[in-house]
């Protein structure tokens, strides 16, 4: 098991290197000169030259990459060109907010998607199944921002139940923190629940047809046990894959949702950085997101082995 995880981590290293090259190259290919942005109204060639020299923008590109990547590995992602705050500090201040949002949204998605998928698979072809599918389809089709705005109008403006926007750190007021995160988490979670439900349903339908389900029933086991133990366990593989990928996506920043509910998370950070041509921040955030995805993939690989004993041999 440990060897398997170790090998997975080793495989992740080349991926990381490629990602870092891509991140850096994209940055160089983008139109616009960061120095001009930094200098603002000042167009004095000497100042510009000084800035270029200071940020080593005159070095050959491979050297720039090398400098950037070695610094990045030491935890130094550079300094925000706009705010002069170290990029790592910026990320570390925004990341927990987004992680909290992602976890809450994931809980909503799993709590709705998996049971709904199981029920519609077991009751295939009945009204329950059709209803679940219609709801899931609407969940997929309704844009997050629209649902968010509607919820704000209804829950915050009309009923005045939950705050419409803002963010309170949990250390300050846990209850208020949960109240402000509830709506954004719901908006994000329901969108994911729809695809989770569809995948759970199709995985369960495949498993429920298998011979070992018939064997389990031949033992006289009650349907609840047949479905929740024998079928669900085997249907979990695609669900695990999808969940970890979705979680990675959530970490990348629920850009729209964070904008609507004005949550100071990753999504907002990245949008602001792109608009301000704050290259160091963009690079740092994208790299961080990529690492997040790789970690989630690693987690998926590990969970496969837990779920599926057949993989333990090759492990």
């Amino acid at each position: 098991m440990l060897r398997y995880i170790g090998r997975r981590i080793l495989i992740a290293i080349p991926t990381l290197i490629i990602v870092s090259v891509l991140v850096f190259a994209l940055q160089k290919l983008l139109p616009g000169d960061p120095v001009l942005t930094m200098a603002g109204e000042e167009r004095d060639p000497q100042v510009l030259e000084y800035l270029r020299e200071r940020y080593r923008l005159n070095d050959p590109i491979p050297v720039q990459y090398f400098v950037w990547i070695t610094e990045a590995m030491r935890g130094n992602l550079g300094i925000s060109l706009r705010t002069d705050i170290p990029v790592l500090d910026l990320i570390l201040s925004k990341l927990p907010v987004t992680i909290e949002l992602a976890i809450m949204a994931m809980i909503v998605a799993l709590a709705i998607g998996i049971p709904a998928g199981i029920i519609s698979a077991v009751r295939k072809g009945t009204t329950v199944d059709y209803a679940a599918n219609v709801i899931a389809l609407s969940g997929l089709s309704i844009p997050n921002f629209w649902l968010g705005i509607m919820l704000i109008m209804l829950v915050s403006v009309r009923w005045q139940l939950l705050p419409a926007s803002g963010f309170v750190p949990p250390t300050e007021d846990l209850w208020l923190n949960i109240k402000t995160m509830l709506m954004p988490a719901f908006v994000l979670g329901t969108g994911l629940a729809a695809s989770l439900m569809r995948h759970t349903r199709s995985a369960m339908l495949g498993v429920l047809r298998s011979d070992y389900i018939r064997t389990a029933r031949a033992k006289g086991l009650l349907s609840r046990k047949v479905i929740l133990k024998h079928a669900l366990r085997n249907a979990l593989m695609p669900i695990v894959t999808l969940s970890t990928l979705l979680f990675g996506e959530l970490l990348a920043g629920a850009v729209l949702t964070e904008q609507i509910f004005t949550i100071p998370g990753f999504g907002k950070l990245i949008v602001d950085a792109v608009f301000n041509r704050d290259y160091a921040v963009v690079q740092g955030v994208v790299l961080c997101t990529a690492v997040g995805f790789i970690i989630m993939n690693l987690l998926a690989d590990v969970l496969y082995v837990v779920v599926n004993p057949r993989l333990r041999h090759s492990a």
Binding site: D211, Y212, T215, R310
Partner: protein, 352 residues
């Protein structure tokens, strides 16, 4: 009470005093079982008016070519038919005096795996890949015996020893993918017999296995059956196996039982043309007389099924009555029944 319940049906088998006595000693009596599949042509049942009985501790072999309804019959008895598309439209299945087909799903689940158990054709896919062998055997014991998991594991270990699996302690913690097909079928047998069932249904338990393993598994089932006194329905198309293990035989063709009787009667004095054809198609090492006999033609598809005897299209004796009126399963000699207008055939030799 039980007798009152069985009374109405006695009128159906009028004139045979045997019905009562055979029902008393029979563990399972199936009468007029008919199964329909949604989407099949009207009035064509996949299993039609199937009747047979199994005595306590005895073996009934259900014989017939693939697709003749043997498996559907056995799954219907176990309550494992997927409904829909399948529907049981008629019949009774008296198991120890209780009609299985009128029980609730919960009551059937209480019997399944306890008093009646089943072994399937596909050992490679019939075990859940995600759980250990021990867990899968033990859960059936816990379900019906209500004992602790640890005690059930003890019993599971006993069962693995009984089915002669080497290093049973180790195998208890093994997963199905670590075992061969023959070993997995032994596990299935251990699972089925763990609660000492009164009836074991074995649906072609050796078909998917290597020829060398087939005999081993069959011998094992026979030995365990003798030890435990379990009655068995063995589904097979291997007449060699039938001759070896059967007490009674029911021959099925296109969803109907065409002939039933004691094994000697079926082999020595077959009455239905299909049974005779089956006997002729067994290759023999002893006599080599030219080509291997076959039954000409194939089973007609459901939409072309004759109204009368379903064997009409392939039968050398068939006439217009055969095509239009289904013959009853009539008793030819005590205990020996055939579903043919011309049975017993000897009386019609001149006609053919």
């Amino acid at each position: 009470m039980a007798h009152e319940a069985t009374l109405p049906h006695l009128r159906e088998v009028k004139g045979s005093g045997r019905a009562i006595s055979s029902e008393e000693q029979a563990l399972l009596t199936v009468q007029g079982l008919s199964v329909r599949f949604d989407g099949a042509p009207k009035d064509v049942n996949i299993v039609d008016d199937v009747s047979f009985s199994v005595a306590r501790g005895k073996t009934l072999c259900l014989v017939g070519e693939s697709g003749c309804g043997k498996s559907v019959t056995s799954l219907a008895l176990m309550g494992l038919l997927p409904t829909p598309p399948a529907r049981i439209v008629a019949g009774r299945a008296l198991f120890d005096g209780q009609d299985l087909l009128t029980l609730s799903e919960r009551e059937r689940a209480d019997i399944r795996g306890d008093r009646m158990a089943m072994i399937f054709q596909e050992p490679m896919t019939s075990l859940n890949p995600a759980f250990t062998i021990g867990d899968q055997i033990a859960e059936g014991i816990v379900r019906h015996r209500g004992i602790s998991k640890a005690a059930a594991m003890e019993r599971a270990l006993d069962m693995l020893e009984k089915v002669r699996i080497p290093a049973p302690e180790k195998r208890l913690r093994a997963y199905p993918h670590e075992m061969s097909g023959g070993m997995r079928q032994r596990v299935m047998i251990a699972m089925a017999l763990a609660n000492d069932p009164q009836l074991l249904i074995a649906d072609e338990p050796t078909t998917a296995l290597d020829v060398t393993i087939q005999a081993q598994i069959l011998t094992l089932i026979r030995r365990l059956q003798e030890e435990t006194g379990t009655a068995m329905i063995l589904i097979t198309h291997d007449l060699g196996v039938v001759a070896e293990v059967a007490d009674e035989v029911a021959v099925m063709y296109a969803g109907r039982v065409v002939e039933t009787g004691p094994v000697e009667a079926i082999f020595e004095d077959p009455q239905h043309p299909y049974t005779i054809g089956l006997m002729g198609s067994v290759p023999s090492l002893g006599r080599r007389q030219g080509r291997l006999a076959t039954i000409r033609g194939t089973v007609p598809p459901a939409e072309l099924m004759p109204k009368g005897c379903r064997f009409t299209t392939r039968c050398p004796f068939a006439d217009s009555r055969c095509a239009n009126d289904p013959p009853p399963l009539a008793e030819i000699r005590p205990g020996h029944k055939a579903r043919c207008w011309y049975a017993p055939l000897e009386e019609h030799r001149g006609a053919a």
